[in-house]
Symmetry: C2
Subunit: 575 residues, 2 copies
């Protein structure tokens, strides 16, 4: 391919509002063009990267006995009604009526379609287990598409669905999928991907893992133990608090005339944050009923854990009604007369001398001991966020790291949520009808491309790993008007191509600086420069995009040496 | 792949309402499952066929300098408003509002997206020509999906768009695309595909060709000259009529008290159909205004040609109003007082003694001579359908054949319809801004699969061409419980696979008749049978699905011989 014929424009500057490097560099490099919010068209280089990733995905899915199938993008609403998700999923699902007035949806995931395809065809236990997968376009009407390909509305995704006759069989397969995922990311050249325990969200099921590429711009917060194997999404990470033994004090009301926030109250009373019990007020989405969470004053509420505990959708309280019994700024667990669900976080266990609000404007209590002072013994639940240096729930060491990550893949143990709701059964060996149990396994192609760019770039452009680079070698001809240089460069291109090397050839009559700036944006891993000077000396200048190699090869052997360099760089990723 | 693990059910019987063999056989064979009207999920065999066709499409598009890109399925309505097609296309386009209330559409074709992607990046004439293509899901809300994959609502399509600076350059590229299309169909094993001149319909532009696979169930009517190169869709085929010289007669009113139809009038008056001028009444869709077509009584109106002549959408008249001046059953061109557009077909040229209606109940005229009897000389246009044995507009011989075909591909010269309406320009060598001119080129993958099945099957199942078969060889093990047979069959499978041959292996404990019936439905081109008997004799029974070969290979050489048979069958399609 010649750069002069390649559609797509390299831009000098793009606006940098997002701070997402992959978006900036891929926009500058002519990889994509926005068609609408979170909707892109892709130029040839991106499509080549995408197809290479798809090839890796297919090979690894086939290697764990996957059968590639295809589900439709457009589905009748009735299919989603059969699982109950037509109502349980909100406005992120695109809905419309076809010309006959039938309600339709656009697929944002395909559990229902997978059960529909397998139903009636896997009737005997002997046909299990099996896994089906597809690579298909999906649409999810994200409220805030952001960061280029990191969070879009339309995307290409590999999604896989496995069917089993026992939890043990699902778990064995889940482990195989886990390993396949590790291989996929390694082969694609993503270096900093870790698997974390995660929340199953709208997918249902209990056990799930997210594969997270560590990056500061990531939307997810990860909890990582450097001392053991523990890794979890903050959303589900246990918060372990071992409060030191402390002396009791009498419960005493104190005037705090203008002190409302934790900071103000602590400063006024000379206490530390961790000797207070702060109150955070939420409301149930459906009923507006208040939910008050009490937790140690130095901690934050983990809303996902709170939601999972309540089994209800909630949001931070938007308004405290005067007749609610809630006195904002002075809320305390003692003598609280409010029509609200009260939740005590585990961080209060063992506390005997807490500062709390007095449910009265201008007053707090000190010396609050929940076990002693509350009429009903509180039930403590874990709804707090753990923090940097927090205690690892597995090895118990106070060494937790908090990092940011981009979710590049996920795997779920779904159980029988979908087969049961949709009535799919098989005949088991004991002659009874049973519901198969399922796993599902997703990787978004575009987000993986952007994530790899996020971790593999410099100021001048992406540094694509050899396995997914749009081309393997870029040949730069610095003097196309010179017949000898032209002939030399073109022979190098055709020698490389005859060896199966993918070459991007730049023979435009432009300044070397301009050509190299474009080459940096193309991010091709190996660059070969042919100029008058190199021709005179009988060599080709060869360097790698990541700057770890800069050398010269003799013209006689250049194509062999470059081809073996390419092979070596590929092998490093495949092994 | 083992049949025992393959998801998808072979059915004994399926209802046969459509009469479309590919639908019946592919449904019986477990190739697909309907999810909604015209919406399918596809099992592994179909997806493998599809991917092989996609590979051929990519190779042939790349060979004519195509750049693979990707456009989105979901597009903002504004993109389609910019070309004017948001209003000109009707309810076949799926429309909906996203969560923010923005009107969106699902892509049914991607001219607008192609112009959007190329705009601003191809600013200089030096960057032309170029071609971009994608393979992507499309949705077209067909009112009547039918015939399985022949006419669906959701489909996978290869669509390509070329951009040029001159009509001559477009035409030269169009010819290359034409040849590429011939190669694609040949390589995919479609034998009876012909290119016909066609109507450009909603695409705009002037010159276009459809690639038609000849099949009785086809929705299109084709006009083919066996004596020269002339091939056209009936919709655009010229109807050439050379009326023999005939004597004049006086215009005479005759009573036809109960005779209204051409048949009745001809029988009553002892005339032939071709000596009458029949009237066919249409109405304009917008205004209900009548359009009356007069043509020779033995011919039919070609509504596409009529529509193109009028530049208006029309439909057969649903009601003749009493005050319209139209006397149904007695309409004639002489003394006609009707508020209608009158169209005279060319088939009336030279007629001097026609039977026509007298615009009066119970009467006709004989001896009508348009040139003599009409006050205003009529303008004749060609709006008639040609017929079997009609005159070829190119070589002039009265030998035309009328056949049915399935449209498996199309190519269009679009001109500047899209670049002009969307304001895409480039700077030409003469320093003026100009609109690029475009061509577009489509092939639907699913319809091609079904069409090939339509021409390549027997009563028992599809006969897939080697190039697109889901697997190349099926190995049938007739006695899996016999250790020696099992070992022999498994060695054959692994020997074949190590030679790169794709094998479907059936080792189920089922009756041979059952296994062979399934094998017929899989349609794998080469079958190798291993049984106790063949093992004892040291051979493998090898046959082709099309029954042209049935032989035995020695066990020692079977894998080599089968592999070379596969290669030979592949080569036959690729050359």
């Amino acid at each position: 391919m010649k750069v002069r014929n390649l559609l797509g424009e390299r831009l000098k500057d793009v606006s940098d509002e997002s701070g997402v490097k992959s978006q900036i560099l891929m926009t500058k490099g002519g990889y994509m063009k926005p068609v609408g919010s979170g909707i892109y068209s892709f130029y040839m280089p991106t499509q080549r990267i995408s197809r290479k990733i798809q090839k890796i995905l297919r090979e690894e899915m086939d290697a764990i006995d996957g059968q590639e199938v295809l589900f439709p993008v457009v589905m009748p609403a009735s299919l989603w009604q059969s699982s109950g998700r037509y109502t349980s999923i909100g406005s992120e699902m695109a809905r419309w009526n076809d010309r006959s007035g039938n309600p339709m949806v656009l697929g944002m995931t395909h559990e229902e379609a997978a059960v529909h395809l397998a139903d009636h065809t896997a009737k005997s236990h002997a046909q299990y287990p099996f896994m089906i997968y597809q690579i298909q376009t999906k649409f999810r009407d994200e409220p805030r598409a952001r960061g280029g390909l990191i969070r879009v509305r339309e995307f290409t995704m590999k999604d896989a669905y496995s069917f089993h006759t026992s939890q043990a069989d699902l778990e064995a397969y889940y482990d195989k999928a886990y390993v396949a995922y590790e291989r996929i990311f390694r082969r694609a050249g993503a270096k900093n991907v870790i698997a974390v325990k995660s929340d199953s969200g709208m997918m249902g099921g209990k056990i799930s893992h997210e594969f997270m590429l560590l990056a500061d711009i990531g939307e997810d917060t990860l909890v990582i133990c450097p001392e053991c194997d523990y890794r979890a999404n903050m959303e589900v990470a246990d918060c372990i608090i071992n409060n030191p033994d402390e002396a009791e004090s009498p419960l005493t009301k104190v005037a705090t005339p203008t002190q409302k926030t934790i900071e103000e109250v602590c400063a006024f009373l000379g206490r530390k944050h961790d000797s207070t019990a702060k109150a955070v007020v939420y409301q149930e989405n459906d009923t507006d009923k208040y939910v008050i969470v009490f937790l140690r004053g130095d901690l934050e509420v983990n809303e996902t854990k709170l939601r999972n505990y309540l089994k209800k959708e909630i949001h931070p309280a938007t308004e405290i009604l005067p007749d609610s019994g809630i006195v904002a700024g002075f809320i305390g667990a003692y003598n609280l007369k409010a029509n609200a669900t009260i939740v005590y976080d585990k961080s209060l266990v063992g506390k005997k001398d807490l500062v709390i609000g007095a449910n009265e404007v201008g007053y707090h209590y000190v010396g609050f001991n929940p076990e002693r002072d509350l009429e009903t013994k509180p039930e403590y639940v874990d709804v707090a966020k753990t923090a940097e240096g927090g205690i690892c729930p597995v090895c118990g060491k106070p060494v937790l790291n908090i990092r940011r990550g981009i979710e590049v893949g996920n795997i779920f143990q779904l159980g029988d949520k979908y087969t049961k709701s949709m009535g799919m059964t098989y005949l088991d060996a004991d002659n009874t009808e049973k519901y198969p149990i399922m796993g599902c396994y997703g990787i978004g192609v575009g987000r993986l491309i952007a994530s790899i760019c996020e971790e593999s770039h410099d100021d001048y452009g992406p540094i694509w790993p050899m396995s997914i680079a749009p081309w393997q070698v870029e040949v730069c001809n610095l003097r196309v008007t010179d017949e000898k240089v032209k002939a030399t460069a073109e022979k190098l291109v055709s020698d490389l191509e005859s060896k199966g090397v993918e070459v991007l050839y730049d023979d435009r009559e432009v300044r070397p600086g301009f050509m190299f700036a474009d080459a940096d944006l193309f991010g091709i891993p190996v660059r070969a420069v042919v100029s008058q000077k190199t021709c005179e000396r009988g060599v080709v200048e060869v360097s790698t995009r990541d700057k770890t190699l800069k050398t010269e090869f003799s013209l006689q052997t250049a194509s062999e040496e470059i081809a073996s360099l390419v092979k070596k760089m590929l092998d490093e990723l495949n092994n």
